[in-house]
Symmetry: C2
Subunit: 216 residues, 2 copies
């Protein structure tokens, strides 16, 4: 009985790690879709989001079930409660990848990304992908120095977004429609990364009990 | 001892309701700041966010503490876990009001809202304020029909945001800087309302155990 219980607990954590993998792949593909007007990539992001949502529902039900039946204490309790909070961030991160993909789809066969912003978008895509993967590593290892790294990685993302807005204001973004798309896309990358950083903060709180800034 | 415990539990829920009140006031003031270039209102939103954040930290610590010490079961357990999820939405809703206020501050003494969009913004502000207040009522009463109303209210907000983007594309938003601000502001109202709707969904899940769509 106790073994089954711990198996279930491990399964919850494994599902969270799997969500990070899916989110990382989704943002990479969404970026390919945006920058390269790659409709196949776009459709995969949108279709794959159902897997993220299924994991969300699974984690939620499993975690509530374990809380209710097993009355876990101390460490296990914190893991479960933290999982119920992290799963929201990871589901939401997946939604942002879908939002990015949908911008690409709306503008296809044109690219939503003006030529002079391609490099910035590619960098934002890589940065977001790496942050989300690292969040998965933090969940797997509970390595707090890795969680702290996420904050720096997020600064890099914020710099990229700021640069994007500067480019836009300098007239690099073309017409109003392009400006709306670039503004929203920049915001989506930023928020996607924020949710990965929030995962790091929640794991830190779970391990140390020390309160950081509000995580999202 | 049990009484103290239930007092603490009630205090957690009261703090969530108070956060809704503060969020509703913040979005009303942020709208006044945006539409009327009212710097006093803007500064109050930014200053008052510290109260929201303090409530966030208080709820989080209190809820974890009750979970760890009291090992609540069944209904109480669900209330605490749900509170730990709702508090994130309410803290985040407050952040969106601050984001709105900061747009107004950046553009002051000019208004960030083009004249022809004033009415839409006033309506978005009122709609957001009402949704957040209603979320507070859902927390207080656990009235699921009220929670369901939030979904309709949110549709109205989405319609308003869509209308805003249409206006922008028709050239109503002025230059690129205005287009960026209006795009972001529209998005912030939309997300603020989404978080209030999420509160309704989480309360519904807490009461029924039935899984809806991912809430955020």
């Amino acid at each position: 009985m106790r073994d089954t219980y711990h198996d279930h607990l491990d399964a919850v954590v494994d599902d969270l790690i799997q969500m990070c993998r899916l989110d990382a792949r989704a943002v990479a593909q969404a970026t390919a879709g945006l920058v390269g007007a790659d409709l196949g990539a776009v459709e995969r992001v949108i279709a794959d989001d159902e897997s993220v949502n299924a994991l969300y529902r699974g984690v939620e039900m499993q975690a509530y079930d374990l809380l209710a039946r097993q009355q876990p204490v101390a460490g296990d309790l914190r893991v479960l409660v933290t999982s119920l909070r992290i799963v929201v961030d990871l589901e939401r991160a997946g939604d942002y990848a879908v939002h990015l993909a949908k911008i690409a789809r709306r503008r296809h066969p044109a690219s939503a990304v003006p030529d002079e912003m391609r490099d910035t978008f590619l960098q934002m895509g890589r940065t977001a992908e790496e942050i989300v993967r690292k969040a998965g590593d933090v969940i797997a290892t509970r390595d707090l120095s890795l969680a702290a790294e996420l904050e720096h990685d997020d600064d890099a993302m914020d710099d990229l977004t700021r640069g994007l807005f500067t480019q836009l204001l300098q007239g690099g973004g073309g017409d109003i429609e392009a400006a709306i798309d670039v503004t929203l896309a920049g915001r989506y990358y930023e928020r996607l990364a924020d949710h990965a950083v929030a995962v790091g903060r929640r794991i830190t709180y779970m391990v140390t009990g020390e309160h950081s800034t509000p995580p999202a």
